[in-house]
Every structure is written in C-alpha cells, then in structure tokens.
C-alpha cells in the first residue's frame, strides 16, 4: 500500500526544490547555527556537509571541522505536539567555503504525508538571521541539496 502511494507521489511530484546559493559575508571564524523547521508531524533528519566535505548528522555527530549535531526531532516529538518541529546543527567556528544542507524524510510517524515542506535558517550566535530559504523532501528520500550557503 505504502509502495503504491509512493508510486503515485513519485509520478506526480516534481524534483525537490533547489534554491540559489546564499552568501554570508564576514562570517568566517564566527559561530553559526543551521536550523530546519517543518510543520508536518513526521521525522525529518538534517545533514550538514562542511567545506572539507564531512557531513554531520545523527550518525556522525561531530565533524573534524567543529560542526556538531544539536536539537533533534523524531516521531516522539511528532506525537507530542502540533509543531513546528526543528533540528539544528551548530558551527562553533565557521570555515570559509560552501556548506550544504541536506534533508532526509526518513519516517512518516504513522501519517500519510508524502512530501514535507521545510524552512532553512542560518543564524549567528546571538540569533540574528543571516540567511533563510525554503525546500521540500519526498518520503523515504534524501534531498541532497535542500539549501546551500557560502561562508565568506
């Protein structure tokens, strides 16, 4: 049944959204927080690939470049509230170069949602928003390039 639904959504949906690369100036060496947020009660996972090419996510919580996994939301959180739900990764000392945000729609948590819309925000340590974007991800898929930003 689930496979059939997947077939349907696969046939009707376009490829995941891919936004323009955002530049964040004067941020090398500063502390940044990357956050994804979504409203559907499902389990999305954040991935952040740093300029040297290492990815931080739930199974690699600390990169050699310093980025570290922060807040996580799974099906337990989806069952408890109305959302929005969010996950974060902290970059204690931002490196020069491109960061890539990827998002995996890993579990539906018993819901019928087949595509989740999400928001991506990069903030400084004091909460100032330095960049924001939108994306989406299909059930049981990774959107490898949900959003990218260049730290300069």
């Amino acid at each position: 049944m689930r496979l059939a639904a997947g077939l349907l959504i696969g046939c009707v949906l376009a490829m995941p959204a891919r936004a323009e690369v955002v530049s964040i100036a004067d941020a090398v060496g500063t502390s940044l927080i990357v956050e994804i947020a979504w409203n559907d009660p499902v389990d999305l996972d954040i991935f952040l690939t740093d300029p040297p090419g290492e990815t931080v996510y739930f199974a690699n919580r600390l990169a050699k470049g310093g980025a570290v996994m922060g807040r996580e939301s799974g099906c337990a959180e989806a069952a408890q509230g109305d959302g929005p739900y969010s996950e974060t990764i902290r970059i204690p000392t931002a490196l020069s170069g491109r960061y890539r945000v990827s998002v995996d729609f890993i579990k539906d948590c018993g819901n019928t949602t087949l595509k989740a819309d999400l928001r991506v925000v990069v903030k400084s340590a004091d909460g100032t928003v330095l960049g924001r974007g939108k994306s989406d991800v299909q059930y049981r898929n990774l959107n490898p390039v949900a959003w990218e930003f260049d730290v300069k």
């Binding site: 496979l3 959504i9 949906l13 090419g53 290492e54 990815t55 995996d104 049981r140």
Partner: protein, 587 residues
C-alpha cells in the same frame, strides 16, 4: 654481517637511492631515532613524515612517507631539502608519538600504553568486528558481506553507542545505497548491534590483539598522497604504461591523475550530458549521499595497450567512458542496454570487457567496429528473471523517488546475482565472479560460450589471473584467498594471515605476474597483504592511516604497488582524507 645487518644495509641503500625523488626536488634524509621510556631503542615503529608545508606549485601534493625502525630504533625518512617535517610514531602496545624535525636528525620517545581503552582504540577495526557476536554465524557472514563493503565495521563511527531507532535509520539508508541485507536481518540487527556495541565499548579488554609487525617492514617504504576531500571516494586505482597513476573519484566524477615522480596531480572532470541527474540516472542510488557530486559515477579503469587510452565504467550513468591522455579529452558511450557497468578489463585484441552488475550481464565493446555485445547471464529463479526483466520500470520508479528499497530482500539477495570482478587470462579467456550467487564463470570469446563454476565458499568478489592462467579470487565475507586451476577445475583455499583469524574482508587483489606475487587488499585491517605463490609465504604491510579501506591494487613495472583509500564515506578515515598509497618493498 648478520642477517639483520644485511637486511638493514640493503634497506638503507634503497632509501638512499630514493632520497632524491621527493617532489623531484633536492631532498634530505632525516634519521629518526625512537626510544622507549627507559631509553632503549624501539624496533619496528611505524615512522610517518608529513611535510609541514604545501608543495608550492599548483597541483603539487607533497607526499607523506612512512618507514619502520630497525633494531637500533632508527629509521631514515626522506623529506624536502628544507622546512619542518612533522613526524608521527605508531606501534601496537604504545601510545602514538609525535615530533617535529627541522634538520637531519631527531630523537623521539614512544611511551608504552597500558590503558585497555586506549589500546583498544588504537586497534584496527577488524579486531573489533571480529568479536561482535550476532549469535548466528550465518548472520555474521551476511552482515560482513552486506555491511562492510563501503567502509569498515568496528570503527569509532560504526561502533558508537546508538539507539535501536538510529540503527534502523542507518540500515534504511544503507539499503538505499545498494546493500542487499536480507529483510530478516534488517529486523534483527538494530537490537543486536546496539547490545553488542554497548558490550564492547564497556569492555575494551575484550578487543583482541592483531598480528605483530615483522622484520620485512624495515625494507618497505610507503608513500601516501592526499587527493580529493572528505566527500570523495577514490574507488579504483590504475598505473598507466606512462607511469602516471589514475584514481577514480566515484562521488565527484573526477579522474585524478598523479605523477608519483613529480608529485603533480591533475583533476580531469568527466563531462555530463544535458539532463543527467545528480546522483546518476540508475535509480538515483547516490543521491542519498549528502556530499554527492556525481552524475556519471567512476568505478573501474583499464588501459588500451594499442593507443594507451583509458576506459572507465560510469556505473551510475550506465556509460563507458574513454579518456585520451594525449588530448585530455573524454568520449562518452551510452550503453544500448543494461545497467551498472562495473569492473573493466581490456583483452589482447583491444576489446573492452566489463561486468554489468545490476542487469546480470557481461558486455564487450569492440573498438574496431564501435559496437557492443552483451551476454545475458542465467538467473537463479523465475522470480529473479522477472525482477531483472522489470529493471527498466523498477529503476525508473526509483528515479522518481519511489522507495523501492523497501521491497523485501530474501536470504540469497534474490534479483541481484551481481556479476562483479572481471579478468582477462593469458589465453584470452574472460573470467568473472558473481558475488551473490557464489560462482565464477568463463567466457570464451571465440565461441561465446559461458561456463559457470560454483565456488565452495560465499562471496567471490574480484579476481585476477597469474602467469600460468590460474585465477586468484578474494573470498570477501569469509576472509580468505582462493585459487582456481582452470585445467583441473579445482579450487584451493588459503586462510589469510590477518589476526584475529578470519577477520579480514578482502575486497580485491592483483597478481604481479612477472614476480609470482599476489597482492591482496587487507580492507578491514588497514593493510596490504603479499602472497608469494611459489613459496606460499605471507607478508603483511600495515598502512599509515587508521580506517584505510582499500578496494583495488595495481602493480607498477618495478614491482611497487599502488592502492587507494576508498572509504565511503571518507570521513571514517582517521583524518577524513582519501589518499593514493604506494608501497615499495625489497622484491
């Protein structure tokens, strides 16, 4: 002169002869003396010299050099004529040591390590993986086959304390990448892995020791070039007739060329076609990788001895790719049928042969007529035949994002017999393995006859022929080496010398036909393994970086070997850095 002295003298002579080739520049020799806490010399210490400064020219990669101390605790490393060199010391039973050399000599102290946790942390992954108890030998073998072909098991990344839910997610992602872990194992493993890793992390003294290093290492010199980045995967490596070394970055579509004499590297980007999709057109397997940069997928390399062009398999685009070194240009050949061109070899008549792993075929590209020939291979069941027939539809659905990876997988990895390694024998016969159906097979190009031989072991991965036409095969999940004699049609099995016994997962091998040596990838144990065919003698060469996952080995004219650290993902590697590695031995 005693034996050791003779060996040492020959080793020093070799090093002295090679001491002028660092970056093609003037070089100096640094004498590194290693003593223990009590001031006694420490033999067989791995000494790695890392130049502190970059090469200075575009594309120059200053190599790291590794040698081993003799009984006097001294090792001689070559380094650039000037500048600081960072020196790392490594030996089982000791903490890693480090220092800096600015002149031509440095003395360093290596401290004995007694903390069980630290000792276990410094033990290669195969020792950790060896003591993971899944309660069922068959499940453990299946786990080794399906969970250890991208990266090592038993590393800090894999042994981490995780929840069952996290293991479920990791396994789900692993299946998307192409693992054929049977459905029952997908259900069982999260609980088992959580419990086993927790047990081992709490009891580091349970991690067994690995084999002690031996005297032959004093004659070895290991050179390592850092290429690509933590999103790269240097899958296969090839030594061209020009002496240039090529490595295929499977995740970024880069053919990386390295001149080991000058240390200059050049990156050749494989072109994509309009409409190509990130992650490839074949089910989008690699689009599940966050750092993905591939559209073509570069897997295996071979060279035409007619015009020295390289032929590469573009696995994730189902293309054959030709690279002309003289113009540095690529030609793309879209295959008229089939999926996932895998390992490639070129025969004596300049025909390009390759396995088609997903569509269960062997293919041949005739360069004179520019035509392809496909050999459809038998299936194991009607269900498997139906699955392979339906591949165009299945892969199209996967491209659309339909989660086909959630379809049930049976114990035999049905639907995917997986033609894998391929080799051209001296008599022109083409041999290949089928990883999941436990077979090797021969194609007679003159008659098109295909003959299968069932292996008395599971998981024949890659194979090569020796000068006599015998086939040498890696037995991946059982940690052994197999020989097949085509004349008698018999197999001989050899246990690899890796300790703990049976803990290796050898991905590939190559045969130095001129010298009668089989070189085997010690994929699980950060090593390369040398087997002298005539003497039936083993030698293990430990590699400098922890979590060095090698998938291929090629042999240069002088008998030195080249391999690459192709861990996927690369961040499992000790410093997250893929490398090309050369080992020079006494031969």
């Amino acid at each position: 002169m005693n034996t050791w002295g003779g060996m040492k003298c020959a080793g020093l002579l070799t090093l002295a002869m090679l001491a002028t080739d660092v970056a093609g520049l003037q070089a100096r020799e640094i004498a590194v003396t290693v003593v223990d806490d009590s001031g006694q010399p420490v033999p067989l210490v791995m000494v790695t010299a890392v130049p502190a400064e970059a090469g200075g020219k575009d594309g120059m990669v200053m190599p790291e050099e590794t040698v081993f101390t003799g009984r006097d605790g001294v090792a001689l490393v070559t380094a650039p004529e000037s500048g600081a060199v960072n020196v790392r010391l490594r030996k089982s039973g000791f903490s890693d040591g480090e220092g800096t050399a600015t002149g031509t000599a440095v003395s360093l102290t290596l401290k004995k390590e007694t903390d069980p946790q630290a000792l276990a942390d410094n033990t290669p992954a195969n020792a950790w993986a060896a003591v993971i108890d899944l309660g069922d030998g068959n499940l453990k073998t299946h786990f080794r086959l399906q969970c250890a072909f991208c990266h090592q098991q038993g590393t800090p990344n894999t042994i981490a304390d995780r929840t069952e839910e996290e293991w479920e997610k990791i396994i789900d992602r692993m299946i998307r990448y192409g693992s054929r872990l049977r459905s029952s194992a997908q259900d069982e493993l999260p609980k088992l892995l959580k419990a086993e890793h927790k047990r081992l992390l709490a009891n580091p003294s349970l991690i067994p020791p690995v084999k002690a290093w031996e005297d032959h290492l004093t004659k070895a010199r290991i050179t390592e070039w850092t290429l690509g980045d933590s999103s790269s995967q240097l899958h296969d490596v090839f030594v061209a007739s020009t002496g240039l070394v090529y490595a295929g970055d499977n995740l970024q579509d880069n053919l990386i060329e390295l001149d080991p004499e000058t240390n200059i590297s050049v990156v050749h980007k494989i072109p994509k076609r309009e409409g190509d999709k990130l992650g490839g057109n074949i089910g989008g397997r690699l689009k599940n990788y966050p750092g993905v940069g591939t559209y073509v997928g570069l897997h295996s390399l071979a060279e035409s001895l007619v015009d020295n062009h390289l032929f590469l398999t573009g696995s994730d685009s189902s293309r054959l790719v030709e690279f002309a070194p003289e113009t540095q240009s690529f030609t793309l050949y879209d295959l008229p049928e089939g999926y996932y061109p895998h390992t490639v070899r070129i025969d004596q008549k300049d025909r390009v042969w390759f396995t088609m792993a997903v569509s269960n075929q062997v293919a041949m590209f005739d360069r004179t007529s520019n035509t392809f020939k496909f050999y459809d291979l038998p299936t194991r069941s009607l269900k498997e035949k139906a699955t392979i027939t339906a591949l165009p539809v299945i892969l199209k659905l996967a491209n659309w994002g339909v989660p086909i990876h959630k379809m049930p997988i049976d114990a035999e990895s049905g639907g995917l017999p997986l033609p894998y390694g391929i080799e051209i024998a001296p008599n022109g016969h083409v041999w290949f393995t089928r990883l999941h159906s436990d077979e090797i097979a021969r194609v007679n190009p003159d008659t098109d006859e295909v003959t299968f031989f069932k292996t008395p072991f599971v998981s024949p991965r890659r194979l090569r022929a020796d000068a006599d036409g015998n086939l040498w095969i890696t037995v991946f999940a059982e940690g052994r080496l197999a020989k097949f004699d085509p004349k008698t049609e018999t197999f001989t099995l050899y246990d690899l010398p890796t300790e703990p016994a049976g803990s290796e997962t050898p991905y590939s091998l190559n045969v130095d036909r001129k010298r009668g040596i089989v070189w085997i990838n010690g994929t699980a144990s950060d090593s390369m393994i040398r087997f002298d065919i005539a003497k039936e003698e083993w030698k293990i060469f430990p590699l400098p970086r922890r979590r060095t996952f090698t998938r291929d080995v090629d042999i240069a004219e002088d008998g030195s070997i080249f391999t690459s650290n192709g861990s996927f993902p690369a961040w499992h590697i000790e410093d997250g850095q893929p490398t090309v590695i050369r080992i020079v031995t006494e031969n």
